[in-house]
């Protein structure tokens, strides 16, 4: 229900401007002030969740593609879907899995939803599985979202961020939305941070689908 995720803008291997430099700048400024012996710390004011309601960082999204030898293994996440059935990633082993982290409150998620819904329908009947991970959402809103965008694939309800946490050691979802393409052997082949495009995601899926296990 708390709809203020941070949208990390850094992309692996890409030099993009990043808000994290702000903190460094402030810290170095503090160091310098101390170093100049005119000691007056206090350069880093703290934002509070209350103080700043809009923490979205738009733009600077990017795709990371992992070569087949360098793919991190996806954790065997499990959970309960919004409709109450059990989900376990390893049961889809042998299929290409497209895992989308989303929330019904998140504008870029709503923007990319039609593309995801269409792709899921286009790949229906093949060995490509789509699964969503619904983050910081109430199930009623999530189900309404799925009706609006005609999302046919299941979504794991993750109110405690445990699915996201399972990925923290490998390729964590760096923002909402994040889309992972997991190959047939259960390794992460690609990550899209931010809004996925229809053509971009389709090309990635086809590429991974064309690989032999």
């Amino acid at each position: 229900m708390l709809r203020l995720p941070y949208f990390a803008s850094r992309v692996v291997g890409a030099a993009v401007r990043s808000p994290r430099r702000a903190a460094v700048g402030a810290l170095v400024a503090a160091a310098v002030v101390l170093g100049a012996a005119a000691c007056d710390a206090g350069a880093t004011a703290q934002d509070t969740a209350i103080g700043n309601g809009s923490s979205f960082v738009t733009g600077n999204y990017g795709t990371t593609v992992f070569r087949s030898g360098a793919r991190p293994k996806a954790p065997d996440v499990e959970g309960t879907t919004l409709t109450g059935s059990k989900f376990k990633l390893s049961t889809d082993r042998g299929s290409v899995v497209v895992m989308n982290f989303w929330g019904s409150w998140c504008t870029p998620c709503r923007e990319e939803a039609p593309a995801l819904g269409t792709l899921a329908r286009n790949f229906a009947g093949t060995d490509v599985r789509f699964v969503g991970v619904d983050i910081r959402d109430d199930p009623a809103s999530a189900e309404a979202f799925m009706r609006t965008f005609r999302i046919g694939y299941p979504s794991v309800n993750d109110p405690n961020d445990l699915v996201a946490l399972d990925f923290s050691g490998t390729v964590p979802p760096a923002s909402i939305p994040t889309t992972l393409v997991i190959d047939r052997s259960g390794r992460i082949a690609a990550r899209i941070v931010g809004q996925a495009s229809y053509s971009g995601l389709k090309a990635l899926i086809k590429q991974v689908k064309a690989e032999q296990e």
Partner: protein
């Protein structure tokens, strides 16, 4: 450097110059810590600017360190023949000068100004987007200059990296010099001790060698560092001052490094947490995330925090009524997925420390709960919505509920939550922060919430551009009450409320190092202020009549506390006692008189040198090798 510049006034003997050199060497070593030192440093900057070029130019001509001073004397077409090494040397001297550091510090401050005047991408991207749409041309220019992301702009990074380099380049060589200074033996005794600020002279029946030996023993017993020569003993004490100086400089470097460490590997984050829910420390679960330069989403400590209960107590009477008395959050946490959950009482200034990260309780508020059904009869929203307090006496809070997926039309509500609602002349207010009569008052909208494209919105406010207000009675709702929306758009029910807390998560791996460095900086500073370096010289010789004459001289610097006079008198009494003599003259604060008394007998030094203090040293005197090592 410092004393080479002084014009030679006269020619005192070498030892006197050396003893006097104490002042200049100590002054230049301690310049970072004293006001006097700052003046010295300022002089050095002037000097470095003027001489640096000449020196560097000369270095190209003659690479030996000795040679460049001679070469510098001859005018040289600088710049043309400077060469790469020369320019680099010159550049480095400029960069590490204090003037450059001050200029860079000023630039850093000036460069931060646009960061507070203009909206910044890192903290407020929505305002940046707004600025772009309202001032398209100007915004593009400002954006190209990096003024919407000042702290990430290359020019800003250039300033602070140069400043850091400048400081390290200044402090590091000085630290090395201080090591040399702390190991330095005392200088040779000056020839004429009577010219020193503290001096006594007396005759003794002992032979000169025996007298010196017993004096040395006495001084050594007082933990003086000794140096002996033919007919003299030099003793020095107070090297702890140099140790303090050294400690100060090294701790300053440590402080810079540890703060840099925190900036690179640390992070700050915020998270709002409603009672009965939990979150994990992963980027997607955080409201705000300000990572250090080298922190990635995979570097966060994988802990989980669940909030079971939050209680706030308030002052119920007196003038402070309504003020918070205590906050307590009952939480459970686990350090990593799969670990056991531990209970913890989180309170203000009682953070949870897990895996090196600190979790602070920094705020609280109310989250009213709503259930909304749309026109088709489906439940399209069912949950708690955090409202933000807008005042403290009654904790009146505001928030927004967004239901973009309601049918046939999207629904939106803006509302006020009143913990202790009371009707004051037709106007609803909250008289107390505790939930004595929790009510909500809502304004309802229908239409397009604008959430399917465009810039992301704040969850606490509603963009009413595509919405129209619904004609609904403004009557406030009590728990369990509903409002039926017109035209069959749906129903909203106020089902209850929860409390929320806001948490600040900080991780700073350099924190304890910075603390200890800070303490060491202070300790070193105190030591270098409180300990003074003082020197005692003893000379014993036989005069024409065959008597042994013992001269004692003492010297100290910045004896603000005035303790050295007594210390010297005590030493003089002790040594003369050992020499079976009584002091015929008490230690004189005016050595000029003593010097006048003695010039005839010793025949050294013209009377024009009866200054009360040490005279300026002269570069033509062969200095003590160790002494000349420091600039």
């Amino acid at each position: 450097m410092t004393w080479l510049r002084n014009p030679p006034e006269a020619k005192p003997d070498a030892q006197a110059a050396e003893a006097a050199g104490l002042d200049t060497t100590l002054a230049s070593d301690g310049r970072a810590t004293t006001a006097e030192g700052l003046r010295h440093a300022a002089a050095d900057i002037q000097d470095a600017a003027a001489e640096g070029l000449r020196h560097a130019a000369a270095d190209v001509q003659d690479a030996t360190p000795e040679g460049h001073r001679d070469a510098a004397a001859t005018p040289h077409p600088a710049g043309l023949s400077l060469g790469v090494v020369g320019w680099l040397r010159w550049g480095w001297r400029q960069l590490t000068s204090m003037r450059t550091a001050l200029v860079l510090l000023f630039l850093l401050a000036a460069g931060s100004v646009p960061g507070s005047l203009l909206p910044q991408e890192g903290t407020n991207p929505a305002s940046v987007a707004q600025y772009y749409s309202s001032h398209p041309v100007l915004a593009r220019v400002l954006g190209d200059l990096g003024l919407f992301n000042v702290f990430g702009a290359p020019w800003f990074a250039a300033i602070y990296i140069l400043l850091f380099t400048s400081l390290v380049g200044c402090v590091l060589p000085r630290t090395l010099r201080l090591v040399g200074s702390a190991r330095q033996p005392p200088p040779r005794a000056p020839g004429n001790l009577s010219r020193l600020p503290f001096a006594v002279s007396y005759a003794t029946p002992l032979a000169p060698e025996a007298a010196l030996e017993s004096a040395a023993k006495a001084l050594s017993g007082k933990r003086f560092r000794l140096r002996t020569g033919p007919g003299w003993v030099s003793a020095e004490k107070g090297y702890l001052r140099e140790v303090g100086n050294l400690l100060f400089h090294m701790a300053l470097l440590g402080l810079l490094v540890s703060i840099g460490l925190g900036g690179l590997f640390g992070y700050k984050a915020d998270r709002l947490l409603v009672t009965g829910t939990s979150f994990a420390n992963t980027v997607t679960a955080l409201d705000e995330f300000h990572p250090g330069r080298l922190v990635g989403p995979d570097n966060l400590q994988p802990f989980t925090v669940a909030l079971d209960r939050f209680s706030a107590s308030y002052v119920t009477s007196g003038t402070l009524v309504g003020q918070p008395a205590a906050f307590n959050a009952k939480i459970r946490y686990s350090a990593s997925p799969g670990d056991a959950m531990h209970s913890y009482d989180l309170a203000v200034n009682h953070p949870l420390i897990v895996d090196g990260a600190r979790v602070f309780l920094i705020g609280h508020g109310y989250a009213p709960e709503f259930r909304i059904t749309d026109g088709t009869g489906r439940v399209v929203f069912d949950g708690a919505v955090p409202f933000v307090p807008v005042e403290t006496t009654g904790l009146v809070s505001e928030g927004a509920i967004k239901v973009p997926d309601a049918n046939p039309k999207g629904l939106g509500f803006v509302g006020v939550f009143l913990p202790s609602a009371i009707d004051v002349g037709g106007k609803l207010e909250s008289y107390f922060p505790a939930p004595n009569n929790p009510m909500v008052s809502l304004v309802s909208y229908a239409g397009n919430l604008g959430m399917n494209s465009g810039p992301s919105q704040s969850v606490y406010s509603l963009d009413t551009a595509g919405l129209h207000e619904l004609a609904v009675s403004p009557k406030p709702l009590a728990i369990g009450q509903s409002v039926k929306l017109p035209n069959g758009l749906g129903t909203l029910t106020y089902t209850g409320y929860r409390q929320w807390i806001s948490l600040a998560i900080t991780y700073d791996p350099g924190q304890s190092a910075a603390l200890w460095s800070g303490i060491a900086v202070l300790a070193g500073l105190l030591l270098s202020f409180m300990v003074r370096r003082r020197r005692v010289f003893v000379r014993a010789s036989t005069d024409e009549t065959g008597n042994t004459i013992v001269d004692l001289g003492g010297l100290t610097r910045s004896d603000a506390a005035g303790g050295f006079e007594d210390e010297f008198a005590g030493l003089a009494t002790e040594i003369s006692g050992l020499h079976q003599a009584s002091i015929d003259a008490s230690p004189s604060p005016d050595p000029g008189l003593e010097a006048a008394d003695r010039t005839d007998r010793e025949g050294s030094g013209p009377s024009s040198h009866q200054g009360s203090g040490p005279s300026s040293p002269d570069q033509s005197d062969p200095p003590d090798p160790e002494q000349s090592a420091g600039e």
